[in-house]
């Protein structure tokens, strides 16, 4: 029997992504450009495809136009005549007159989907995580354990773990404690420097989910959030298990990043680079579907000096003239003038960089024109007077500013 037949898959993609401002000022967080040719949601959706899941609901809300446009352009690949679909679902406002109050409320407001589908299990995913995971393995674990809820989990350094839900499990992987975003996360018994964090990937027994959501909707003190309310309420009362996310090739903990804030966005890009990239996009067994583009091949133009590229990802349709690019990610259509230096930078679509400009540790939004000899990332004070600069010293250049030549 195909276990996926009785599974409904829902991707939550409605969050405002305030900590990614200004990148999210006009688009949904899952629709943000990542890795040159992807949007963040592409990793979760590619996981679905690679796991054999081809019936997907995407719950959108904030900035949904950007997400819808991307889904139409890149993900219009399902075959309805085979029962496949990818539906983008904004808040229906049929049963209630409000936006989603939290992650759990977003599913509660769409109970009708579950009522019509009548699944046995529900897979709940987030549209803003970068990882490669076979959900079928997790589903098999969930069925084997006869769990009410299975939470995917991965070890993370303790000092970074306070941004996540922390799981405490027994020897049988049963969850016996859950702390949502604790200030001082407890370490794992076998490794006190690491904490076991929830990846925000859940498989619920469908009827349990419905009952828990209904009970939660009636709780006045609830924030209607899976991590804050639903899971802590279920631990100890229901069969909640943790599924260890490991890389099947190495047996080591898998790569998983929550792109929750700008420094994480930047760092996850650095993880794509180098000969032995921490996160490998060149895995033939696990293709990630990205933007389909009509861009021509990238052009490297040399008169006297060569174009020098090291440890970088350069998308199609770029034009690089005697420029030097190091540890950077360029989206399609980027143009670098003569003598330009780009180091540890993420350049979105159609960014133009004028002759002799120098860029270091920056994220530059699509369409920005950097004037000749302009510098970014060399003078923190000057940068901060013009642009947002993160705690980690990454300069964000939004495309709603006009830059003057020095």
């Amino acid at each position: 029997m195909d276990p996926l037949k009785h599974l409904t898959t829902i991707v939550m993609a409605g969050g405002r992504g305030e900590r990614l401002f200004p990148l999210t000022r006009d688009k949904a967080k899952p629709a943000i450009v990542f890795g040159g040719v992807y949007r963040i949601i592409d990793f979760t959706l590619s996981n679905c495809l690679n796991s054999g899941i081809r019936r997907i609901y995407v719950l959108s809300q904030y900035g949904s136009l950007s997400l819808d446009m991307h889904l139409k352009r890149t993900w219009d690949i399902m075959r309805p005549e085979l029962g496949e679909f990818l539906y983008s679902v904004p808040p229906q406002q049929i049963t209630v007159d409000r936006w989603y109050r939290g992650t759990a409320d977003s599913i509660y407001q769409n109970l009708k989907i579950l009522d019509e589908e009548r699944p046995q299990q529900v897979l709940i995913l987030s549209g803003d995580h970068v990882y490669k995971m076979n959900y079928l393995h997790m589903l098999e674990f969930h069925l084997r354990k006869e769990a009410d809820l299975t939470v995917a989990a991965v070890p993370a350094p303790r000092r970074e773990a306070s941004a996540f839900g922390i799981l405490h499990v027994d020897h049988d992987q049963r969850v016996i404690g859950f702390l949502e975003k604790p200030a001082d996360p407890p370490g794992m018994p076998e490794n006190p420097e690491m904490s076991l964090v929830s990846m925000g990937v859940y498989i619920f027994a469908a009827e349990t989910l419905v009952r828990e959501l209904i009970a939660d909707a009636k709780r006045k003190d609830s924030k209607h959030d899976f991590g804050r309310d639903i899971i802590p309420q279920m631990v100890g009362r229901k069969k909640v298990f943790a599924f260890n996310f490991v890389n099947p090739q190495t047996g080591q903990p898998g790569y998983w990043r929550d792109i929750g804030q700008l420094d994480a966005y930047f760092q996850a890009h650095m993880d794509l680079l180098g000969e032995e990239a921490v996160f490998d996009l060149f895995d033939g067994d696990w293709p990630v579907r990205g933007q389909v583009s009509l861009a021509p091949p990238t052009k490297y133009v040399t008169k006297k000096q060569p174009v020098e590229i090291t440890d970088s990802l350069i998308a199609a349709g770029c034009e690089l003239q005697e420029a030097r690019v190091e540890r950077s990610v360029l989206s399609p259509g980027v143009r670098l003038g003569r003598g330009v230096e780009v180091r540890e930078a993420i350049l979105w679509h159609e960014v133009r960089v004028g002759v002799g400009a120098k860029i270091r540790r920056a994220v530059i939004e699509d369409g920005v024109h950097i004037p000749p000899r302009f510098t970014i990332g060399f003078d923190r004070k000057a940068d901060a007077s013009r642009f947002p600069v993160t705690d980690g010293g990454v300069v964000i250049v939004p495309n709603n500013v006009t830059l003057e030549a020095p």
Binding site: T95, D97, K112, D115, V210, K218, K220
Partner: protein, 116 residues
Amino acid sequence: MKTILVVDDDDAIRMLIEMELQEEGYRVLTASNAQDALKLVETEPLDLVILDIRMPGMDGLEALPRMLGIKEGLKVILNTAYSQYQDSFMSWAADAYLIKSADLTELKNKVKELLT
């Protein structure tokens, strides 16, 4: 005094429930359709709703989540002649699901249980 809203399109059943609950000492409001009931949920301080499912216009299962959206934690008893709606996830949001009967003992017991 606790206030109960009785929603049913059948006049006879509505009146019967109204009278018997009044005898029990409750304040009882009535509505013959879901739209009127939703208005009362918005404006009246209610403790409990007794809700029919099959009604012309909006049915009880559609009205139920709307009522809960207006008044979080509102107690609702679904009171219907049909058992098949028990499978609907929407019906699970009610505090009780009763099959209609001319004998109101079960209904009255459930009301008492939910309001104490």
